[in-house]
């Protein structure tokens, strides 16, 4: 065991350091392919404080899942983390050994996935799968682990837990399976739960139940949540802070209220505008024109410029990650009140690059 701090102490009030629970800095995860390198995550930074919920929002393919998998170091070859740092309470994950990661996975950081149908092993019953997680990380005998599994099943709101523990995944409904996944993830009392689109595959009513469950457990266990979703409604329900991702980069970052009340980045605008609203009458649904750029053929400069209604020539240079407020940043040339930047809409070349560098906080 290295000099990693035992994370679980934090929530009992005894924190040994002042670090955030999770600190991601300039994370870069690339996938070399036959046709070129796909930069799935390209310079992503954010922090998660203990007990808080961070929502990561973006379209499919923007790199949110890869970010989560990078934190767990579950990226499959040929992809790999090529740069940046991920710190779990001060402990550097990027160059952690396999052994160390196995202590962390399922124990300090747990993850639940999108498809409850296929995420559980069909040949083992639910109780066994939960008990496996428990006995892996906490020293428990078989009987104890099994009892803990039944307890967890009860805690996630499944009635008749003893009977359910003996059932196989295919005997449970989608909502129940997701609850079992949550039970499995929480059975080791992790400091952080990463939830990758946990409700996307479920009915709307079940969705609401699962979210309620997650909120209740969050209260009870005082754990942090990293919630990945493309659904802004879920973000509004659950998140304290929000990170908006596009094409592998963070384009806006703020607390949840600011994002909805004062979005800055045109992409965020687009996302919010495309939500249909009851009670308002419009002729057409607003859409963001165009498609996500081909990862093998990314545009120069701002990755959103081909779809952005505010695009200017200066956007051919990579924009700065501007700090617009104490807890609000945006990857865009526009000023806080949506005007072209001080150096002018047509700036380019070295001037633009240096300005961008100057305006971004040291990442």
């Amino acid at each position: 065991m290295t000099d990693r701090v035992k994370v679980k102490e934090i929530r009992t009030g005894v924190s040994e350091t002042q670090d955030d629970l999770i600190e991601v800095k300039d994370l870069r995860t690339y996938f070399p392919t036959q046709d070129g390198v796909v930069k799935a995550v390209d310079g992503v930074s954010f922090e998660i404080e203990a007990g808080k919920t961070l929502g990561i929002v973006g379209e499919s393919g923007c790199g949110k899942s890869i970010t989560a998998l990078s934190i767990m170091k579950l990226i499959e070859k040929p992809g790999r983390i090529v740069g940046g740092s991920i710190k779990l309470d001060g402990f550097e994950i990027v160059n952690a050994t396999d052994d160390e990661m196995r202590q962390i996975r399922g124990n300090e950081i747990s993850m639940i996935f999108q498809e409850p149908m296929t995420s559980l092993n069909p040949v083992y019953n639910c109780g066994d799968q939960i008990a496996e997680a428990v006995s892996l990380h906490d020293d428990m005998g078989r009987r104890e682990a099994h009892n803990k599994a039944v307890e967890m099943i009860r805690d996630v709101g499944i009635p008749d837990p003893k009977h359910r523990a003996k059932q196989y995944p295919h005997e449970l409904s989608g909502g129940m399976r997701q609850r079992v996944m949550i039970a499995m993830a929480l059975s080791t009392d992790p400091a952080l739960l990463i939830a990758d689109e946990p409700t996307t595959a479920l009915d709307v009513t079940i969705q609401a139940q699962i979210l309620e469950l997650m909120k209740a457990l969050r209260e009870k266990n005082k754990m942090a949540i990293m919630l990945i979703t493309h659904d802004l409604g879920v973000i509004a329900e659950m998140a304290d802070e929000v990170v908006v991702m596009y094409a592998g980069k963070v384009v806006e970052r703020s607390d949840v209220n600011t994002i909805f009340a004062q979005p800055h980045h045109p992409y965020t605008h687009g996302l919010l505008a495309s939500i249909p609203r009851l009670g308002e009458r419009h002729k057409r649904l607003a859409v963001i024109k165009g498609v996500v750029p081909n990862p093998l053929n990314l545009p120069k400069g701002c990755l959103f410029k081909r779809r952005c209604p505010y695009a200017m020539p200066v956007c051919d240079t990579a924009p700065p990650f501007q700090q617009l407020g104490p807890n609000h940043s945006s990857l865009c040339w526009l000023t806080a009140d949506q005007k072209p930047p001080a150096i002018g809409a047509n700036a380019s070349g070295v001037i633009a690059e240096e300005t961008a560098a100057a305006m971004s906080p040291s990442k």
Binding site: M72, L74, D98, R102, Q103, I104, R105, G106, N107, S110, M111, F113, E115, T118, S119, L120, N121, P122, V123, Y124, N125, E132, A133, L136, H137, Y168, H170, M181, M184
Partner: protein, 324 residues
Amino acid sequence: MATYVIRRLIQALPILLGIAVISFIIVHVAPGSPIDKYRTPRVSPEQLQNLIRMYGLDKSLPEQFFSWIFNFLQPWQTDGAGNHVAWGFSFSTGAPVWDRITERIPATLLLMGTALASTVVIAIPIGVLAAVKQYSLADKVITVFATVGYAVPSYWLGLMLIYTFAINLNLFPLFGMHSLGKTDPLDVGWHMILPVASLTIQQVAGWSRYMRSSMLEVMRQDYIRTARAKGLSSGQVIRKHALRNALIPIVTLLGLTIPTLLSGAIITEAIFSWPGLGNLGYTSVIDRDYPVVLAFVMMGGFMVIVGNLIADILYAVVDPRIKY
């Protein structure tokens, strides 16, 4: 489950009937008749008639069919002397067909059983290795071996083995099951090595490919990712989660290879002069020994049905999602 098995067996009856009809028709439509070899000047017409009556060849075809099938389905009938006569008598040797067949079964079972066991023991680890270390050197070697091994005809391989080991290096006997006069198991084992090797190599080629692709399929599944996210090591993930799922189709493969125990035997036993069932089938066709041929086909059909049933039952046993 018991009702399922019974239902399947009942469903099998029309199939067996179909097989019986087809083989009976083939045997009787074929040019030539079993008594042709008796049509020599030395045999008188009355003797011929007697023969015809004895073999029941004077009755109409449907009558012959029904009398045959009726008796065939009751193989346990014995005459006064304890002979099982229900399956008729061999045209070649006159012995009861039942005896001729049953005395050959152990030899074939020995050969095939050993080959099957060796195949399973070798092919599964190889397949898993190739899948786990995909694209590595080991994987490439195994895949090449499997593809080539699959393409090599078993008799050619058998002959190559005979040539190399039996003739050139003189390590193993050329043919047969026993050396003259010897009956000890060690001698039999020594004789078994080459035929079993030739069968096993070919089977391993096929099975390891199956195992590899099944394993690859399983390892792409979401629950493997969940297992890793729980903190299990690669070894644990493979052993506890992947393997159990990957073995499911392999287990059913086991049931399905039972019928091939019979037909694979024909060629191998021919090359190695192994006195088994396949050899019997082969010679009985040459000799136009129809009772034996018919019994052989019926047995073959029955084994296919049983093999399929076993495969389905095993499938239900290992996969909790299947309930009959």
